[in-house]
């Protein structure tokens, strides 16, 4: 049986379009608005929704996600409080949920217990940006037992041999980081990136989704020509941060979400 995430990519492939994968920070700016954002994303074109578990030391993240994580932690958000929220609304949300967490909070809870908690909350996949394939044995077995797809990342400078190794560990899709940098850096969709996407796709049967720095519909539509999925994080979180009210945050996020998902519909 194929996983929920695999089914998404089967469907988008049939529909000849690129999957839209928005990211928001868990529990940010508050629980109510976080729930509102999940609902809004689900009805404005999200195929998969990625939820960040805030961590005190987010090494792979730029200033925007760092800032939202810090505010969420200061407000008392914990991994379990986010999972509790997800569990409450899992039947309302159509898009499969993927959690992004650094390794230490998972290790602290215990990988097995964490995987079980994800599954209970209705989560379909996990991205652990600082867990290399070499260190991942202690996680993947539990993830697999609980039906969680672990999505691994490849970078623009990852050598071919290693891309194939990482792809063999990855489930659901393979995450291609668009640039050497942190989340939210400014992205230039170059012919080199397009070549990289094609190149990585040639090395795996998994769908390949591109993320880091994607912020506009036009970037998304460029990437849609090559990638199977596009991940947008900081641009959405930035809208939340800049909004004056919770209602404005939800409206602003859903309008960008709609524009980007529209841009991903047309594929040459």
């Amino acid at each position: 049986m194929s996983s929920k995430i695999e089914q998404v990519f089967k469907r988008t492939k049939q529909e000849k379009r690129c999957a839209f994968i928005p990211f928001i920070t868990g529990g940010f700016p508050n629980t109510e608005t976080f729930i509102g954002l999940l609902r809004a994303l689900d009805t404005s074109g999200a195929d998969i929704i990625e939820v960040g578990i805030p961590f005190s030391d987010p090494l792979a993240d730029g200033p925007i996600i760092q800032h939202s994580s810090k505010l969420a932690l200061d407000a008392g958000v914990t991994p379990q409080s986010i999972l509790d929220t997800l569990r409450e609304i899992k039947h309302e949300i159509r898009a499969p949920l993927v959690v992004m967490s650094y390794w230490n909070p998972i290790m602290r809870r215990g990988p097995e217990e964490f995987a079980a908690a994800l599954s209970e909350a209705g989560v379909s996949g996990a991205i652990v940006p600082d867990l290399t394939p070499e260190e991942s044995d202690k996680w993947r077995i539990h993830a697999e037992n609980h039906g969680i797809d672990t999505i691994f990342m490849v970078a623009p400078i990852t050598p071919a041999e290693r891309i194939m190794k990482i792809a063999s560990f990855s489930r659901g899709f393979l995450y291609l980081v668009s640039m050497t940098g942190v989340t939210g850096s400014s992205l230039n969709v170059s012919s080199r990136l397009e070549f990289q996407i094609t190149n990585v796709k040639g090395m795996t049967n998994l769908p390949v989704s591109v993320g880091f720095g994607v912020s506009t519909p036009s970037q998304a539509s460029e990437l849609a020509k090559y990638a199977d999925g596009v991940i947008v994080g900081s641009a959405l979180v930035k809208r939340c941060i800049e909004s004056q009210s919770d209602v404005e945050a939800i409206n602003s996020v859903s309008s960008l979400s709609r524009e980007i998902s529209e841009a991903l519909r047309f594929r040459n």
């Binding site: 961590f55 005190s56 030391d57 090494l59 792979a60 730029g62 760092q66 810090k70 932690l73 914990t78 991994p79 379990q80 390794w103 230490n104 909070p105 998972i106 290790m107 602290r108 809870r109 940006p129 600082d130 867990l131 290399t132 070499e134 260190e135 691994f152 990342m153 490849v154 970078a155 623009p156 400078i157 990852t158 050598p159 290693r162 990482i166 980081v177 050497t180 940098g181 942190v182 850096s185």
Partner: protein, 409 residues
């Protein structure tokens, strides 16, 4: 000279560390964003290749001798010994190196390595500013661009070193996130490295970080213990009974201990107890921390029940770090090294004491090792020999200590 030849005899489990994937037992390893994996592989290979070449080793040895002022003296502190019992006390004078702390040993080694790899830009994090100054110095010497990340809190309390770095031509970037100290400076440096990995080498300042850093920094610092072991044998005809070093993230202690791991010598690492271990305001990851991952490696660290890293505290900026090198964690588990801690207050007393009694103003970090002599006093009988690593000098701290004393009035 053969400083960089493998020291490991393979006789004891702690001496074979790390394994091929950079694990020291259950510690160490590599927990990094994928972008850094190729860079860490490149660094590992470059390191083995470089230290395998006589020309590289000779160049480093020459710089350590003529530029950094090695070997550093081993000084018998007789007046200090008198107030602590009957034992003989020797100080390994890393404070007398160029730039004033052991950090230069690592910075010169890694800067040469950066040059060897053809990197045109060097970045570093710094807490006390000693590693930043040492790296800015090495970069100036080799004509390489240098950027140093430093927590804004540390910029305030180590102003002198900020001025030194700038005069040496480095750019100092204040880090405002999190605790605004060493931990956040490391985060900022790692993010810079992820972004500029193609032309940049990250000179990490202690025995932390993803493999191969804990091994590289330990090897470059192991010169401390190799010299001290030879010096004390020359001077006293035998090995010391006890060796004491302060532990921030652990590089001066690891550098001192490494040559003695196979010897029948008691090794003691002294962490910062800050305001006291029971107050929660300390930096004692080994004495009071738990197993986790920080900055790319498994180690003992300070964290809450959800795995969020907790802010460390120490009056000594160089000890103010919530984690500790993976090799120390292994040595703790094997009981090969004993770890203990002393408070801010005791460190300041030792700082003033050493100044008055020996005419040596130690770094506040090193003052923690000196302060531990008080705790040791009952054991310091006539026939004992104690070796203390005086990791740096205290010029950088005089203003801060004066302000602390003022605030205690």
């Amino acid at each position: 000279m053969s400083r960089l030849e493998p020291l490991s005899t393979g006789q004891n489990p702690w001496n074979t560390a790390p394994d091929a994937t950079g694990h020291f037992g259950r510690f160490g390893g590599r927990f990094v964003p994928e972008t850094l994996t190729p860079a860490l592989e490149e660094l590992t290979q470059a390191y083995y290749c470089a230290i395998g070449q006589e020309s590289f080793r000779n160049r480093l040895d020459l710089l350590l001798r003529d530029y950094a002022g090695r070997e550093t003296p081993l000084y018998e502190a007789e007046r200090l010994a008198k107030i602590h019992g009957k034992a003989r006390i020797f100080l390994k004078r890393e404070d007398l190196t160029h730039t004033g702390a052991h950090k230069i040993n690592n910075s010169l080694g890694q800067a040469l390595l950066a040059q060897w790899m053809g990197k045109r830009r060097i970045i570093a994090e710094t807490g006390a500013g000693q590693h930043g100054v040492a790296t800015a110095t090495a970069a100036a010497l080799l004509g390489i661009e240098c950027v140093v990340y430093m927590g804004s809190l540390d910029i305030e309390r180590q102003r002198l070193n900020v001025l030194r770095m700038k005069m040496l031509g480095a750019e100092v970037i204040p880090v405002e996130s999190g605790s605004k100290s060493l931990k956040d400076a490391v985060n900022a440096a790692i993010r810079d490295w992820v972004t500029n990995v193609a032309n940049t080498h990250y000179i990490i300042g202690s025995v932390i970080g993803p493999h191969p850093y804990p091994m590289i920094v330990r090897d470059f610092q192991s010169v401390i213990g190799i010299e001290a072991r030879r010096q004390i044998l020359d001077r006293t005809g035998r090995l010391p009974d006890i060796i004491v070093a302060c532990v921030g993230a652990g590089s001066n202690a690891m550098g001192m201990f490494h040559a003695f791991l196979d010897d029948p010598v008691d090794l003691i690492g002294v962490e910062a107890a800050g305001l006291g271990l029971d107050t929660g305001k300390h930096s004692a990851s080994l004495c009071a921390g738990s197993h986790g991952v920080l900055h790319g490696a498994e180690m003992y660290l300070l964290q809450d029940e959800f795995g969020q890293i907790v802010e460390a505290h120490s009056l000594a900026a160089g000890l103010d770090y919530p984690g500790v090198g993976p090799e120390h964690c292994l040595l703790k588990d094997f009981n090969r090294v004993k770890y203990d801690s002393v408070t801010d207050q005791s460190a300041v007393e030792a700082f003033l004491g050493l100044a008055r009694i020996e005419g040596i103003i130690p770094a506040l970090e090193s003052a923690h090792a000196i302060a531990y002599l008080d705790k040791l006093a009952p054991e310091l009988t006539r026939d004992k020999i104690v070796l203390v690593c005086l990791s740096g000098r205290g010029d950088k701290d005089v203003e801060h200590v004066a302000a602390y004393l003022e605030s205690q009035k």
